[in-house]
């Protein structure tokens, strides 16, 4: 089954139209986000379809997709939890947050995806929220001033099917797929 068909194909065409005529290749990143929003990660088929829309080879598209860490080329959890451990957060206890997150998610060190495919957990570089360090993003929504206790609550809420309210009135993003749709520029506010 094709990823880009019907309404999705129309959306893909809309994305192509954002860029100057003849510069459609610029649409590759939002198109990859769109593919990711449908499949939950970018599969071989996703790469091929993006290539088809842009008249590029699959290798050319993969070269771009593999360069950027927010494009996931392997199976990914329903939710992506990113723990910033860069210096400003590290100085405020981020390593303990990362430990607690692993423990709460029942994941081994080095394990990225939980057994039940619900959570992808990873260490993240500076997220630009140093004023509220340590910070965690859940589906790219910010959770400020996180404590080990708070991260356990967040993980447990995700397990219970609930996405916790982000800090400072940020948008609540219900899944990684939904985040990818926002990042493709297709949602005014995440569903």
């Amino acid at each position: 089954m094709a990823l880009f068909e019907g309404e999705r194909l129309e959306e893909a065409k809309g994305i192509l139209g954002r860029y100057p005529e003849g510069r459609e290749r610029s649409a590759i990143m939002p198109l990859l986000y769109l593919a990711q929003s449908i499949e939950g990660h970018i599969s071989r088929d996703g790469l091929k379809e993006v290539a088809g829309l842009l008249d590029l080879t699959t290798a050319e598209v993969e070269a771009v997709a593999s360069f950027y860490s927010m494009f996931r080329l392997r199976p990914t959890g329903t939710h992506v939890v990113s723990v910033c451990t860069n210096l400003a957060c590290m100085l405020r206890g981020a390593r303990d947050i990362y430990e607690a997150a692993h423990e709460a998610a029942g994941m081994r060190h080095g394990q990225e995806l939980s057994e039940d495919q619900l959570i992808t957990l990873h260490e993240e570089e500076c997220l630009g929220v140093c004023d509220f360090a340590p910070v965690v993003q859940v589906n790219f929504a910010n959770h400020d001033l996180v404590t080990p206790e708070r991260i356990r609550e967040v993980i447990s809420a995700l397990r219970g099917g609930d996405v916790p309210e982000p800090s400072r009135g940020g948008p609540r993003v219900k899944s990684f797929k939904s985040a990818s749709r926002v990042l493709a520029g297709l949602e005014e506010a995440p569903a």
Partner: protein, 431 residues
Amino acid sequence: MSPAPERRLTRDWDDPSVIGIDGYRAKGGYEALKNALNMEAAAIIDTVKASGLRGRGGAGFPAGVKWSFVPTNTGKPTYVVVNFDESEPGTCNNRELVERDPHRLLEGTAIAALAIGCRTAFIYVRGEYLAQGLILEKAIAEAREAGFLGTGIGGSHVDLDIVLHRGAGAYICGEETALLNSLEGLRGQPRLRPPFPAVEGLYAAPTVINNVETLMSVPDIVLRGPEWFREFGTEKSPGTKVFTISGKVERPGNYELPLGTPLRVLLEDVAGGVLNGRSLKAWTPGGSSTPLLTAEHIDTPLDYESVAAAGSLLGTGAVMVLDDTDCVVDAAQRMTRFYAHESCGKCTPCREGTWWAERVLGRIADGYGKPEDLPVMADMGKHIMFRAFCALADGAASVIDSSLKHFHEEFEEHVRLGRCPLRLEHAEVAV
């Protein structure tokens, strides 16, 4: 004598109404754009030049001069690209500027577009700023609705649109030529210069790339004049700047102060001092890519010249504070790991150098360092610095060089004791 410090760029931060276009206009928003629509492009550039506004993204290049490099007679379109890829560790002033006052960015961008005859501008926002991208999308839609973007902006015969483009998690895309490649749909790797973007930038056309804070400073300069802008700051670093302060401080945050304000004022008077009354050990003046300074440098005025004279760089104005309980080796290792992770792999000194440095620093931090590791680390910087297409690896070398320069004994202690000298000491204190 400068007047008493006042908030300028951040003056409306306590008024959430300015996030919407009506609130922004009620405070005089888009008046500068209307003025600019009645000015010759050269006059806009001259005004910004006269203000002495320097690029806030790190390099500090005068914005008006940058604009004046753009040829408008090539037969190609010209582009303004807003660099909102804010990813320098410790930096979050652009994020808060956009969260609290998004239309000011659009207005500044539109004025820059008028100055160089641009009809399509781009805002490159880092992917992790999902919420801030949404704020900008809404603001762009509002500005279009109100006629400040689109066909015949502000009742003129000038057309202008702004396209929001989201990044996807690559620090290197904050480097302007890597950003252009990314925007063109390529891997975000830097380009050889020359040609400079002003001549051959986006789609090989003349392009101006400016930081968010730089462009947000422009509307007031157009409306109130260069002299007003120069009331604060120093002769060579005029104006105010939004500094980020984070790490071991009582009140981390973004604070607007005149350029040239000493670190002591930012740290002690504004941010409440070092956390829990501890003492200052080390700090970065402008993100992790700027050489570390120490408590000895606490009276350094935070402007481009003074910070350079102290042996570092003002960078993004992002101060990260380490206190006397923090291990410099550990911090240097963590920062180096960042560069190893973010190296795009194009240039050998960076790709290999950051990878090896992370490993060597890691073994020193873990207590397995060898005496010969220290001269290797001390020697490394000169094999990396200025030997790559861009400054990413220079940042990595700065971390290592400056931490070894100021804290050599702490590195030696790690090797001699086979452990971190601070950790055990503080464990004992805790007992």
